[in-house]
Symmetry: C2
Subunit: 424 residues, 2 copies
């Protein structure tokens, strides 16, 4: 086999521990150093065989380390450590979705300059080989859409709400108890995690990055059990979706928001903490990859897969060029959400007064929004009626215009939620 | 971009025509020669720009051709042409499942000797990137099972039988009319196509080939609509499955036969001509890849993807070693079907005489086969009663022993079908 490949690992959380577990008995690799934030913290694995440091730059500066494995997450200090590692000619494996989403082009450019590579299969979809499929598996295709369930926490919550008729709060608490949601779940339930992941998938599918801060984002916190029940009556399931497709002109329509998915669409059957991405290609048609999108060993297996792939390529002279992600450094504008065209599910809380549906119909009509269905659901003791509407496909700004007018009507208490429908 | 990559194409059927379509306007490639069986045959594409030959060895001997693209199918003459091409230092892309299943190790060995590669993504699962996922995407895993729906024709027939209550013959005729089944459909409905494909997937998952002629094979021709209805009542769908998993000792349990799939298993929802493979890995857990498994452009997209991947690797010195499929040339024995352990679905035709179920129960009991459910379904005017049994998990030879005894009973007319159940 020749000499061992020498690794430095940055971060020893769940994924880092999984990576050490998977590699510690592998004779092909030597873990030389591990950088952690707090050396004193008690850990569930025996680290006596490793050199532990609190200074991650020691990894980047160690001339014997071949590959830096970054599983710490967050931009700081990972970004600086990775830049220094690449500059000193080391290859990098990272699971860091935020870093790749925000600074991918700069990182790939630096790697290119120094003849090394950055692999990031674990950044999206845990152990499902999404990145390699988009990068190398569909070369003959012009991709027309990527739609994915890429956040296990929100999919677990929505699945529990649907299957066990739980409220959002109950389902969230259950997810936290089961270890599927963090104590502070906001990155997941507010959609930031999905923003990072769809930004990465989009950059691979369309070979151009977008500005991450411009990606439209809506979380799942406004969704109530009634929405899930009514969506089912209309023939849909509600899923948190990352969507990327070409926009008008040279833009990319990239977004992260819950959507109504037609019940027979393959994404509708993805349950619990599973992830899936659905890819439409010009030649291949529609393919879906699914599996556990997070968790210690699924994610660690993607990291270790990258390490093994780099190690076997290290024997090739000049291999790095082959593995360069084909992403231009030219950032494309995000197609504004106002300009996108969708069908909409809208839930309104109104006073139970006669003629309210007529007034709503009039307001939508004046903005050119035609309605597919309208349903009034029960009236509470306080006299609140819930009205749910499903529109035909229309430009978002027309719906927003109608809703501004509607929210000013005296009979309307509030707009409960606005959700978009995935067209097939 | 530098010089064009020069291609020679062997075969101009559906897939070959798709490959020409996808590549003819690509400035990176030049199609130098195309070998066909019959030059005079009228074709739907304009071939005036290409040099056409009936001698496929001209491709292998042309010193300017970089990559031979073999989309002719069958062992003869593809095997000899590919061997000569590899020997003269050309890389090969093939969609030929039979050839790779039967002669993969010899072909890979020859490629290795001459510093070139053989890519075969299109051999299984059309455009779904199954081969690359097994070869490079799950490196950190010990795979414990591959179970796949890898034949679109049989999946289409079984789907039509279930959804539209068609008979096997009606569904087959419908598949032929829709272009999803050949005029002679025997390779598909008798399971030979699945044998080749699961042999290839198994060799990648377990890094060893098996002897293809030893793989147990059962087609779908014995399945009647009643089986599909009763399977559904028991909580299953019937699917034609290629299965590969480690056997006892140093054997591999590789087979191609219809199976009862639990209704909530992801494979159960794969409909029509779609394909899917379900992979269980030690670290990643269970992942599934699905999509159109056949057809002109899905398959051509896999072929062209291979061509593009080889072309970009051609710039690397010594790249072939990196892409060598990690398959040992040491053939492993197939674990005998008699020794495998399964639960079984058995349909028997009997005379409607009292006590017949008791006699069946006795025979099964004497062979150590315990029954999970027994159902008697109707009695025809000729006095035939259909009895369906579901067993617990048991070694196959015990079931076969019981059935030998049962088929000798005077009250039993015939054993209608024996199907195996996928355990989850």
């Amino acid at each position: 086999m020749g000499a061992k490949t020498v690794l430095g690992i940055l971060g020893l959380g769940t994924v880092g521990t999984g990576v050490v577990d998977l590699l510690r008995d592998n004779p092909q690799f030597e873990i030389r150093r591990i950088a952690v934030r707090d050396i004193a913290k008690p850990r569930e694995i025996d680290l006596s065989a490793f050199e532990i440091t609190e200074d991650p730059f020691q990894l980047a500066d160690d001339p014997e380390i071949d590959i830096i494995v970054e599983v710490a997450g967050g931009v700081d200090p990972a970004f600086e450590v990775i830049k220094r590692a690449l500059t000193s000619g080391k290859n990098v494996v990272t699971a860091n979705k935020e870093l790749i989403a925000k600074h991918g082009p700069e990182i790939f450019d630096l790697a290119n300059k120094h003849g090394v590579t950055v692999f990031f299969e674990a950044a999206v979809g845990g152990g499902i080989p999404l990145i390699s499929t988009l990068q190398r598996g569909l070369q003959a295709n012009r991709i027309s859409r990527v739609a994915g369930i890429v956040n296990g926490t929100t999919n677990y919550i929505l699945t529990r709400m649907e299957q066990d008729r739980k409220s959002f709060d109950e389902a969230l608490r259950e997810a936290q108890a089961a270890g599927f949601a963090e104590t502070d779940p906001s990155d997941d339930i507010e959609g930031r995690d999905v923003v990072y992941k769809i930004a990465i998938l989009s950059s691979l599918a369309f070979q151009s990055p977008v500005e991450v801060s411009k990606i439209f984002r809506q979380g799942i916190t406004q969704i109530i059990d009634l929405d899930i029940i009514l969506a089912a009556e209309f023939g849909y399931r509600i899923k948190m979706i990352g969507l990327a497709q070409p926009g008008v002109g040279d833009t990319l329509d990239v977004r992260a928001h819950p959507m109504l998915i037609p019940i027979h669409h393959p994404l509708a059957s993805v349950e619990g903490v599973n992830n899936a991405i659905f890819i439409s290609g010009s030649a291949v048609g529609e393919i879906m990859l699914s599996g556990p999108g997070a968790g210690k060993y699924p994610t660690a297996s993607a990291v270790v897969g990258d390490i093994i792939n780099i190690a076997s390529a290290l024997k090739l002279p000049d291999f790095a060029r082959y593995f360069q992600p084909p992403i231009s450094s030219q950032v494309k504008p995000v197609y504004p959400i106002d300009e996108t065209r969708n069908a909409y599910y809208i839930r309104l809380e109104t006073h139970d007064t006669p003629g309210v549906i007529g007034k709503l119909g009039l307001a939508f009509g004046q903005h050119g929004v035609s309605l597919h269905s309208v349903a009034q659901k029960g009236v509470t003791s306080s006299g609140t009626a819930t009205i749910v509407l499903l529109t035909h496909t229309v430009r978002e700004k027309q719906v927003q215009g109608a809703l501004r007018e509607i929210s000013a009507l005296p009979t309307v208490k509030q707009i409960g939620v606005l959700l978009r429908v995935l067209n097939h």
